[in-house]
């Protein structure tokens, strides 16, 4: 029984990491209809900045964290201005290719600037583990799960309840008409890329203790975050979070009780099955399309 709960606990922690990474993805998707393949790469870059500030410049951890956030603001702004906006009229797949190019640029730059080594980066919360009836609970894991839910709730509020949120959604659906209604569309895009990049940075920094800081650190997490978003549904912010948690937990349970070698096949198989049964994800609403 301990093993069961321990696997679930670990699954929730990893799942939160996927969810955290997925939230930025979903935000960009919902504002500009772009699947940002480079989200993971951008998160990695920001995590490196935090690491360099902490390890290289010896700043205290909170300051390094903050520094990376400030960097992310700039980074998101630049990426949107330089790469995304000039192609705002391009088709959906063209935008995918742009973010593909972005992977190469950001990844390549990181490689050239930060070197090829992996580095350990400390946890956000360093405290003794708790042990509840044989199940080890790490305070840092609780912190990560809490942050994820906090961000999710914040995004949910912003998108659904604020004026900015409605403007963001309107822009996503019809940029031209949004302009005609006086929405400063370019500001909306900048904003959402900035927020998404910040989310990426937070995800990257929190993931770093698990994966180490390296140019390849986000690979698996990024892929899983996609799956999380789709599984839960791109249409909401709680969908991806639940999707992430499900994948994290499922991965562990399948590994624990079915097969460690076939677990990827099984988990992806379940994903495809879910999508066939519920094409827009678990929480996605299906609108009957009006003819």
């Amino acid at each position: 029984m301990n093993m069961f709960f321990q696997s679930i606990m670990a699954g929730l922690e990893t799942g939160s990491l996927y969810a955290l990474a997925a939230l930025g993805l979903v935000l960009i998707f919902r504002t500009s209809d772009v699947i940002n393949f480079a989200q993971g790469e951008m998160a990695m870059f920001s995590a490196f900045i935090a690491f360099k500030l902490f390890d290289g410049m010896k700043l205290p951890y909170p300051l390094a964290f903050l520094g990376a956030i400030v960097f992310a603001i700039l980074f998101g702004f630049i990426v949107e201005r330089v790469f995304i906006r000039p192609a705002s009229k391009a088709s959906l797949v063209s935008k995918m290719i742009i973010t593909l190019g972005l992977i190469m640029i950001v990844g390549g730059l990181a490689n050239a600037l930060f070197g090829i080594d992996s580095h350990y980066f400390r946890k956000a919360i360093v405290a003794d583990n708790m042990n509840i009836k044989g199940v080890v609970i790490q305070p840092n894991a609780i912190f990560i799960i809490a942050i994820t839910f906090f961000i999710m709730a914040g995004l949910f509020y912003m998108i659904n309840k604020t004026k900015m949120g409605i403007a963001i959604r309107a822009t996503a659906q019809d940029e031209n008409t949004a302009k005609m209604m006086g929405i400063p569309v370019s500001k909306v895009y900048s904003m959402s890329w900035i927020i998404a990049t910040i989310l990426g940075a937070i995800a990257g920094i929190l993931i770093a203790p698990t994966t180490n800081v390296s140019t390849a650190m986000m690979g698996e997490v990024h892929l899983k975050s996609f799956i999380a978003a789709v599984l839960g549904g791109f249409g909401s912010f709680y969908g991806p979070v639940v999707g992430g948690l499900i994948i994290g937990v499922l991965d562990n349970l399948v590994g624990m009780y079915i097969s460690l070698t076939w677990k990827t096949v099984i988990v992806y198989g379940l994903l495809i099955l879910t999508l066939i049964i519920k094409p827009t994800g678990i929480f996605g609403k299906t609108h009957r399309k009006k003819v």
Partner: protein
Amino acid sequence: EAAVNNEAGDKVEYAQGITEDTIKIGTIAVQSGVLSFIGTPYVAGMESYFNMINENGGVNGRKIELLKKDDEFKPDKAVAAVESLIYDDEVFAIVGQLGTPGVVAAQDIVKEKGIPSVYFGSGAVSLTKAGENFFPVQPNYVYEGKLMSKYAFEEFKADKVVVMYQNDDVGRDGLEGFKDGLKELDKSSMLPSEGEIAFGASDTDFTVQIQKAKEQDPDLIIIYGLGGATSGILKGMEGLGVNKPMLTTYSNADASFLKMASKGAPNVIENLNVMGWLEVNGESLKPLNEAMKKYYPDVPVNAYTMAGWVAGETFVAGVKKAGDNLTWDGYIKAMNNLKFTEGLAPEISYEPGVRQGVTKMAVSKVVKNNGQYEFKVKTAFKEFE
């Protein structure tokens, strides 16, 4: 045309890539993309060695000219690169081709041409039977696994082990070798089938695997995987408070792995032992460290750098032995008579038909020294007999 006299005094032409004062060779390694963390230090190590040799006058008056190709770890690019080197650039030898997919894909081409190919950045077993012109150096994973079983038995006195293996060629070969070894030692019962635990190279959460390992209550945990996942497992052990002796592959026997892994797992790291095929005390690493500082100051010195360096050493040892008889036959013959003990590896030698690469390995243990972790050699270099 350059020519030499062979033993019988006949005129023999130099092989391609050889002139009076140069030896042109080629290497292939991934140098861009996510996997460049392997290829970059590797090539840097090799090139530093050649630079050092060239600066000291070259080998028998010939400078070594290294052509580098990037295959992005892809077999098709590797094939094209090998062809370019052999047919278009006409190099004398392929030295230190890196990456199992590319090495195996190019195997036929290299064999067909008969060009010497020295050192492979790969632990693929198939190289041991590839042909007379193939000179693998670093131990293959199956052999290492086999040797681990011997150490598990002799050194760790284990009655029960668990093998956590990376679920790809690396880990599976290691596991296979380990099981082979147990069988030969008649100790198959040491590893129950529940003790074979797979993990993915890119996994981030090892809780399930660690719990399964712990459940077996083994005397020794073998971790057969590369640095990223292995450090992840150590962190997991730290988190879950698992304290068992561990033994991992030579791929992790370098200081930068230790530096990274120890920070995430300061308590369990001292349980870690590694296999090693190189003598990596401060003295023997000095030339490498100096050369790297000189030529590639921003590239880390790690297991890959050392591997590249050994590739250079091995090739040059063969050239020295061949003297002026720089035909392919001449070189291969020279290599077959080689017994090279001056390098980082304790001993490299080939006989016709024997292509095992290095077979002597030692176990080192992680120890804490003035607050720093380092490897300390704990056994002699032994072979599996």
